[in-house]
Structure formats: C-alpha cells, structure tokens
C-alpha cells in the first residue's frame, strides 16, 4: 500500500488522555477533507480503542499507548492503537457484543462500535505482551468545485 503521510503519538494510559487522543487523530485526518460523519466515526473508534487500553490492558497500572495514523494517497485512513498490557486471552470472545469484564457500567460494545463505525478492524493480541487494534476507514472523495 502506498503511503502518503503518517503520524505517531505516544500517550500514558490516563483517562484524561482519551479526549486528547480523539482530537489529535481527528485533526491529523482532517487534511483528507472528511465529512463530519466520517470524522465522528473515526473519533468514536479511537475513543473505544484507547478506553480499552486504559480499562483492560493497563487495568490497575499505568502504561504507554502507541497510536500510529497512516493516510494513503487513496484516502484510506489506518489507525493502529497498540499497548504493552495484559493481552486478551480469547479475542473472539472479547469481540462479541455485550461481552465485558468491566463491570455493570460497561456495555461490552466497544468492539461492536469499532466494527460498525469503520470499514474493517483487526485485533492481534498475546497474553502478557499486549494488543494491537488496527482500524481502517476509507474517506470518500468528494466532488470539488474550483
């Protein structure tokens, strides 16, 4: 895949950084001239993935979250969100809607939201080593008037 632009961001797994991560990724993607809905979809996916790192991967501890955003010439946005936390024992189960280990106030819909709001997500995880969530979304080319 051809690369046209990339940014990397490392944040600590503090919940106060959730909003910052959403805004930073959205600001970078803005150069592709997405619609409000497209940018909101990306913001929502980033929020879910970063929250998972904080609530699950680094539960009870503080660690680093590594975010890489790649924009291709064909307006494909790829957001990779990686942690070096506890890892997921059963990825398939974790991705099932309503499955949660986060208690009664967590809906268990984080992955369902990411799947629904992106074109494709993939999850790689190793117990004790960490998890990488990759979210892909194509920004539609719009007719531009000179």
């Amino acid at each position: 895949m051809e690369k046209s632009n990339e940014m990397k961001l490392t944040i600590e797994s503090r919940s106060s950084n959730e909003g910052f991560a959403r805004v930073a990724v959205a600001a970078f993607v803005a150069q592709l001239d997405p619609t409000i809905e497209e940018i909101n979809d990306i913001r929502t996916c980033v929020s879910e993935a970063v929250t998972n790192c904080i609530v699950h991967a680094y539960k009870e501890t503080l660690g680093k979250i590594y975010i890489t955003v790649t924009l291709s010439d064909s307006s494909l946005v790829t957001v990779k969100i990686r942690d070096k936390g506890c890892g997921i024992e059963d990825v398939k189960q974790a991705m099932e809607p309503l499955f949660t280990t986060g208690g009664s106030e967590r809906a268990g819909l984080g992955f369902a939201v990411m799947e629904s709001f992106s074109d494709k997500i993939s999850v790689r995880s190793k117990l004790g080593q960490g998890t990488t969530v990759t979210i892909r979304k194509k920004i539609q080319q719009r007719v531009r008037y000179a």
């Binding site: 919940s15 959403r22 909101n40 913001r43 929250t51 106030e105 967590r106 809906a107 819909l109 629904s116």
Partner: protein, 105 residues
C-alpha cells in the same frame, strides 16, 4: 463534562454538557444516581443538547440509569441527541429501553 440537575419527585432533568466518555462517565453517574435516589421521580430525562461527543461509555450510562429508574417504577427519556450519539445509541438498541429524541438541528 458537567451535569446540571433540576428535579422534583415527578420529573428529574439532567442536562449533560461536553464529551461523554469513560473519563467522566463515573462522576456523571454518581451525580444522577444520587439525585434519582433523593427525588425518586416518575420520569427521568437525560438532556443531550450540549453533548458534543459520546462513545460506548454513554451506552453504559444510559442503560444503568434505565435499570435504576425502572426499578423505582419510573420511565426514562433521552432527548436532544446529536446524530453521532444517536448512531451509538441505536447500535446498542437503546431505543427499546427509553424514548430517544434527536436534536432539532
């Protein structure tokens, strides 16, 4: 994120302001639950007029408040919801639990 609560034992309205995510959901939940337990209203309204963003933490917030008000015999209305928040709520099927109305813009 902030919440202003106006209430009586008939109707309790929680006006939410800002971005509703995991970072602030816990505090908002405590404030609303304490008011609900104090007034025991027959109708709880969550007003999303000034909510600029919501992720699945908001689903947990709405579902949890539904369970609480339902256990007290009351009903839940979620009003003035943006397109973005509406999309998240519908994914969770929240329209089956509460009356949800979109913002008029």
């Amino acid at each position: 994120m902030a919440v202003n609560i106006e209430g009586s034992n008939e109707i309790l309205i929680a006006y939410l302001t800002g971005e509703l995510d995991h970072h602030c959901a816990g505090e908002i939940r405590k404030r609303i639950d304490s008011a609900v337990n104090e007034y025991k209203p027959s109708l709880l309204v969550l007003d999303f007029s000034d909510v600029s963003f919501m992720d699945s933490s908001g689903i947990g917030l709405v579902m949890g408040r539904y369970k609480l008000i339902h256990s007290l015999g009351g009903t839940l209305h979620v009003v003035n919801v943006s397109e973005q928040a509406h999309k998240v709520m519908c994914l969770a099927g929240l329209e089956n639990l509460a009356t949800i109305s979109k913002s008029e813009v």
